[in-house]
Amino acid sequence: MNSVDEVVLKVEGVDLGYSTLQVVFDVSLEVRKKELVGLVGGNGSGKSTILRAVSGMIKPWKGRILFKGEEISGLEPHQMAERGLAHVPMGRQLFPNLTVKDNILLGSYLPRLRANRERNLEKVFSLFPDVKKFAQTEAGALSGGQQQMVAIGRALMLEPDLLIMDEPSLGLSPLYVKQVMQAIRQVADLGFPVLLVEQNIKQVLQFSDRTYVLENGRLVLQGPSSELEGHPMIRKAYLGL
């Protein structure tokens, strides 16, 4: 295996925006195999926007995005899913009138995933016992936090080559936040690379391998998480210390 192969996601100098409004400026980042990479930054700094571009919901204005070595700008979200990307967006995007179980099963919609469907389902259930309890309930009836778990479960069903998550701990109770972060770490250790967007920088720095810091659409800091934890700027601006 050469080192190029190791890079799962490579974002090269992208500009992003909505209609006429630019929100991300010349951002480059990469995620390698087995890595858990954090992406943090203030509200509205453009984190979600970058994730949207990676999963094909919006097209870059400038720059390239490479996924497993292939240029992907211009692909649709479903094409990205076929290529092995799983996105847990903010707002969850569940199927409210389908049962929780059907929601999760739809995660293995793609033909190559169907063989392992049952096995993966059990894995998800063991990760989130609560979700199993509500397996036959319509997803729309779940509480906000319960829905978040279903969304993560569904994404795991995709057996992704890269998992990107937008604030998965949003709205989860402290107990679950810990569980989810641990689960994400486990997932990464299993060999699934993860790009994680979170507000809770403490958690991110604690669990992730490397972290990028975004401010007003520009990368301002990057490096191994353990190093950043002590960085004065982080301590001041994000940990409020």
Partner: protein, 238 residues
Amino acid sequence: MQIVLKADSIKVQYGGLIAVNDVSLSLEKGQVLGLIGPNGAGKSTLFNAITGFAPVRSGNVTFLGQDVTNVPPYVRTRSGMGRTFQTERPYEDLTVLENVLVAAFLKNPKRKDAEEVAMSALEKVGLQDRANQLSSDLNLARLRRLELAKALALEPKVLFLDEIMAGLNPPALKEMIEFLRTLTATGMSIVMVEHIMEAIIQLADHVIVLASGNKIAEGSASDVINDERVIEAYLGTD
């Protein structure tokens, strides 16, 4: 102290699921009541039952001395309840200012007065720069703040906040806590659902812990976070 809100043995049921079971609470003027509990515990449901958005099976809600159990939500709003929604509900085709204006019109029938109230609510949540932007163009964090501005513009006596701090980074969180303090200082009471314990600890005068629809503990924040059951069901051990 004056009791502004009282709920007695509230029960809410969805089909076979008892979402809130026999929960009572009361709130004094200028105080903050924290509502915590695991996901799906019934916090939002209790909240909805009190503000009139969820059907109450049994029990009573008394607001400012009036029984409002069977009163439609908009009447409760008129008598002084203001709330946010956990999943934000902007009026998508209106601008940010107009969104708040709708609420401000409640107490200020004149456009000019209403606009002033709306603008000051936007300033309080730091959205004044976005006043003329379409609300559908806001990101999630700003929509949250818009929710809060809408509730503030009602000039309520009791403010109900459902997870408005979720997704805030630490500095913003700090600001928000400060801001809510200034509100209670003016005599406003607050009921808040929150998973961010830091906020609960700093703000709540009294905390109620729900799990599976039942009240499992209550008391001051420090009592509650040291409670065995609460740690087991909600906080987890480090």
